[in-house]
């Protein structure tokens, strides 16, 4: 039996800021638009719908913007297909999803991919211990679930999320015991001028600093976690100094007792759908890694395939919105619903907005960029691939045994072959391989993307079928 089929003019994958704005924009031109997301509600991670968030003391611009955009989406003609996991994208374009009612297929001649990013955590021994969690996970607990880590928790990593999470929990009476910041004060000051272009964010940032200072949280600048210790759960971490490149340097290491750690070192674009379809990829270190090559409107090298938001380069929520507007207009134009003059007029404003925001987004992306020197400092016994328990030492041995690109590395070691499909380890594993051979990241490549894009059971993929449904090809004549 064929799975239920939905037909649209434009399909948008991912219901974060970029996806929501592009879907609404495209539908305003009269196109039939479908928006698919894994979560039950739109918002993505930055605008994640509060499930049980603190009603007092955590009213951020993100919560307000997210609520406004969810209301706009509800008012629009966009068909929302939420609670559906995208597991395959083929042809031009067919999207296979798995929802509560089983498998379904969605078809559209225009596909906008806005699937966001996932977190990069630079491994250290013990980062696999229960109680060690991602920095983005901390924001989800805070913003969407009103859950705080136990009293003795530490915060580590790099970038603006550190300040946001520290301040958010401090205001709710659960400050971290310590902040371990890979950056130094000079890195933060260097980012300040770009904040001047975004007064709302400047105010928000100053509020964070005030909360952190008034809570008297100790901050260890230019430090990183050397290892986490514990039996079945983290009980302590050892931290030590790093240089301006993030490289571990000699100096006093010391231990902090803790029950939990939230750690994150930036974001990696989740570019697997354009990659699966064969769109041209480029490696952009400052934008988080491998991304599809796009024009200003998000058009990829494949006709009628658009890539926007953090999945097309880490630029944050505001740029995701202007990028969503541009891709929505481009899709309407490319589908013949918007004449050249109107398209030029309407996109001029969004383009100007897009450029205006770039100073700030570039500065933030720079703060959370991968530090190759930090990767070079990863201990030999640290697990890099969590799914398959593959250590740095095993990756180095495979490189020395002849693995020259990441897919060979995968075949040699099973790194990236587990259920997360290389999302957690891919960036770091590729960097380790490149360093070992003194090759560029371009030369060591990226994982081959293959369906299913997320783990789903064979049973649900098959759906219901009768024996007569199995196509039996005619045998070749003897």
């Amino acid at each position: 039996m064929e799975p239920p089929r939905f037909d649209f003019d434009v399909l948008v994958l991912g219901g974060g800021p970029a996806g929501m704005v592009s879907a609404i924009t495209a539908s305003e031109s009269g196109l039939k638009v479908g928006l698919i997301d894994e979560q039950a509600e739109a918002g993505g991670q930055i605008w994640r719908a509060p499930w049980a968030a603190p009603s007092q003391g955590y009213e951020s611009p993100e919560v307000r913007d997210g609520n406004q955009m969810r209301a706009a989406l509800a008012q629009s003609h966009v068909t929302c297909l939420f609670g559906r996991r995208i597991w395959s994208v083929t042809d031009r374009y067919r999207v296979d999803v798995l929802g509560a009612d089983g498998v379904e297929t969605c078809h559209a001649p225009h596909l906008i991919v806005a699937l966001g990013a996932h977190e990069r955590v630079i491994p250290f021994p013990g980062w696999t211990l229960p109680g060690v969690m991602g920095l983005a996970a901390a924001t989800i607990m805070l913003k969407a679930h009103g859950l705080a880590p136990p009293k003795d928790w530490v915060l580590a990593g790099v970038g603006p999320l550190l300040a946001a999470v520290a301040a958010g929990y401090a205001r709710n009476g659960h400050p971290p015991k310590a902040i371990i910041d890979l950056s130094g004060p000079s890195d933060w000051f260097a980012a300040l001028p770009s904040l001047a272009s975004r007064p709302v964010l400047l105010k928000q940032g100053l509020g964070w600093v005030l909360s952190i200072v008034s809570s008297r949280i100790p901050i260890y600048f230019r430090h990183a976690v050397r290892r986490a210790e514990g039996q079945d759960r983290i009980s302590a971490c050892v931290i030590g100094p790093v240089d301006t490149d993030g490289k571990s340097i000699d100096g006093s290491e010391f231990s902090i007792a803790c029950d939990a750690m939230m750690v994150g070192n930036g974001l990696v674009p989740g570019g697997e759908v354009p990659r699966l379809l064969g769109a041209k990829q480029v490696y952009q270190h400052e934008l988080g890694g491998w991304i599809p090559e796009c024009d200003a409107f998000g058009r990829t090298s494949l006709e009628h395939l658009y890539a926007i938001g953090d999945g097309a380069g880490i630029r944050g929520g505001a740029v995701a919105c202007s990028g969503g507007k541009l891709a929505g207009l481009a899709a309407a134009h490319d589908a013949g619903r918007l004449d050249a003059k109107t398209f030029a007029q309407q996109s001029a404003q969004a383009l100007a907005e897009h450029h205006k925001l770039s100073a700030f987004s570039d500065a933030m992306a720079h703060m959370i960029r991968l530090r190759p020197a930090q990767v070079a400092s990863i201990a030999a016994d640290a697990v890099v691939c969590r799914c398959e328990d593959v250590t740095r030492q095993e990756l180095v041995s495979a490189a020395r045994a002849g693995a020259r690109d990441v897919n060979q590395l995968k075949h040699f070691t099973r790194c990236g072959m587990g259920p997360c499909q290389g999302r957690m380890c891919g960036d770091v594993a590729a960097e380790i391989l490149a360093q070992e051979h003194h090759l560029s990241r371009q030369a060591v490549g990226y994982w081959t993307a293959r369906p299913p894009l997320r783990p789903i059971s064979l049973q649900s993929m098959l759906g219901h079928f009768d024996y007569a449904d199995i196509p039996i090809p005619k045998p070749a004549p003897l």
Partner: protein, 95 residues
């Protein structure tokens, strides 16, 4: 029990009973199972299949697969699974 994750806000949701490795737990209906388990003090969720090392929820956004445990007899990501009354949870993954 070791120190659990704390709820900052009082939940106004309907509370339901679930079973975690034979122990009755009262949790808010519809909350992602991963957060319910953290609040109930279950931080370790499974062991890794190769080295049998302890693991718990890590990304909370459906990417890392560390919280994939047995829910009503099938492996499911706890962070993507809303709690339902009567749910039977086993804190083990594929091994």
């Amino acid at each position: 029990m070791v120190s659990a994750f704390t709820r900052i806000v009082a939940n106004h949701q309907v509370l339901v009973h679930i079973n975690v490795d034979g122990v009755d737990c009262v949790v808010p209906e519809g909350e992602p199972l991963a957060t319910s388990l953290l609040a109930a003090g279950y931080v370790m969720l499974r062991r890794s299949p190769n080295q049998h090392n302890p693991r718990g929820a890590f990304c909370l956004m459906g990417v890392c697969q560390e919280c994939a445990i047995h829910v009503d007899g099938q492996i499911a990501q706890a962070c993507m699974t809303p709690v339902r009354a009567g749910m039977v949870v086993q804190l083990r993954g594929v091994v």
